[in-house]
Amino acid sequence: MRNIFAVARREFQGYFNSLIAYVFLVIYLLLTNWLFFRPFFLNGQADMRNMFAIIPWVFLFFVPAITMRLWAEEKKIGTMELLMTLPIKDSEAVLGKFLAALGLLATALILTFPTPIIVSTLGNLDPGPMWGAYLGSILIGAAYLAIGVFISSLTENQIVAFIISIVVIFLLYIMGNDMVLFSAPAAFASVLEFLSLGSHFDSIGRGVIDLRDIMYYLSVIVFFLYLNIKSVESRKWR
């Protein structure tokens, strides 16, 4: 436990030391608010749905940007050898890095709080869907993060990690899309829909918090963190 927090703390500080955090937070807030407020006054509805509908697409690019360095950089500089010979278990290092990235993502989400506050002063904001959407955002963000951190552990090139992460997350997201489901065989379609990152987000975003959706995201996170532990261990059997 102590080690997980030590690693997480170091990585989290690392984001701020290397300016990644500032760039990430500023651009994220500018982009989401601009995308949200642009149609907001035209629609004239005190509704946050537009803000959250774009979250999976914004995260598609932002999450790989914060996960790409986590392992790739350690491998490239050689600090991997330093880290893995400290008395830290592989699983502790993996969890620490995941938590640090999650911390940065959560910070970004918390910093969007002024937006719903502004909206609620302009009209009657329904808090139910809003809190649901925040929960859904952190869950889908965490799932993206788990995938991104895992892919970062497969290469020592950050750009490769970034691009592959985008592709993998995009495919996992899009496979529940109607367009894909329509062209897939019927039996296969429901499996695709269930496994897709996107379909579970839509229902939470509407304010319908279903335990199955939460379990789905938690399973994705656990699965990719497990793969991550294995890939870090793989140095031992290569």
């Binding site: 690693v7 170091r10 030391n17 290397s18 050689g78 050898e81 008395p87």
Partner: protein
């Protein structure tokens, strides 16, 4: 303190470490010497639990690296090759991170870090990013990181590469100082380093151990003898005849001639007696003696012989 028994490590078809065994008692500074690719780094990675051996047993401070890896890692301070450190971190924050992971209680942490800063002489750079420091300071921060938990065993992979001569001397002195109380293994391919810092040397080549002994022992062992360099003025033929006639001289070679001066290299069984005899012959014959000095074989030659000799056989 360290026991390595029949350790083997393969990477696919290549064998990086072939059946090596050695042990290091407490308080010894051991130099691991060998050309690049000899298996030094792999051996160190096995000792530090970065990767396991394929065969054989390795134990550190009584704990097996395969089964008690965390216990082993707690007792080792390791500086990997080129001192890889988190470049964007400030030195103090980095040491704080290491202290946390090393489980140093919060109450003792500050005084411990202060001690290490003092020992390693990094006070001036504490508030700099590691990436902005000179290579010498980076190396010291790397060394500081290995010492923070007062480990029993220090493993340093080429601790002086990339440093200037002054820095090299400082790091060597530091290692010697530390080595008084701890078991140290350091690898290098710089020979003077071994002579300057270690009290025992293992030479590795092609993943095998090819020699084990103190630096002096190894120097003496090679070719078995000392040699003398003699430079005299006189008729070349009679000089070589008379010098070969000396009982202690086993071999004589004309190294170079410059006008009337001839320089000979003599392999001798007893350098002191041979030198006396050379001197008295020169006095008798009226030669001008310009140079007469013993030359023990350098570790460099021993190293070359052991590693290249092997290669030629293959």
């Amino acid at each position: 303190m360290i026991e390595v028994r029949n350790c083997v490590k393969r990477f696919g078809p290549t064998v990086a470490v072939r059946d090596i065994s050695f042990s290091v008692p407490k308080g010894e500074i051991l130099g691991l010497l060998g050309p690049n690719g000899a298996g030094k780094t792999t051996t160190m990675r096995i000792l530090t639990c970065y990767m396991p051996a394929d065969e054989g047993t390795v134990s550190v401070a009584g704990y097996d690296v395969a089964t008690d890896s965390v216990e082993v890692r707690k007792r080792i301070g390791y500086l990997p090759e080129n001192a890889p450190l988190y470049k964007e971190m400030y030195a103090l924050a980095f040491l704080d991170f290491i202290a946390r992971v090393r489980g140093i209680p919060a109450s003792k942490k500050q005084s411990r870090i202060d001690d290490i800063i003092e020992i390693c002489g990094i006070k001036e750079v504490l508030h700099k990013r590691i990436g902005e420091m000179s290579k010498g300071y980076q190396q010291r921060v790397g060394l500081a990181q290995t010492l923070i938990h007062d480990p029993d065993v220090l493993i340093l992979d080429e601790p002086t590469t990339g440093l200037d001569p002054n820095q090299i001397k400082q790091i060597r002195d530091l290692i010697k100082e530390i080595g008084r109380e701890k078991t140290v293994i350091l690898s290098t391919h710089i020979l003077p380093e071994v002579q300057a810092t270690t009290n025992r040397v293992l030479i590795m080549d092609y993943g095998r151990l090819v020699a084990d002994g103190t630096p002096d022992e190894l120097s003496k062992k090679a070719k078995g003898a000392e040699s003398l360099v003699v430079q005299v003025r006189g008729p070349e033929e009679s000089i070589s005849d008379l010098l070969t006639g000396i009982e202690e001289v086993t071999r004589l070679r004309l190294a170079d001639s410059e006008e009337e001066f001839h320089r000979f290299e003599l392999s001798v069984t007893n350098g002191r007696i041979a030198a006396e005899k050379v001197f008295s012959i020169a006095v008798q014959e009226g030669w001008t003696l310009r140079e007469l000095r013993p030359e023990s074989q350098s570790l460099e030659e021993v190293f070359y012989e052991l590693t290249m000799g092997e290669r030629e056989e293959q």
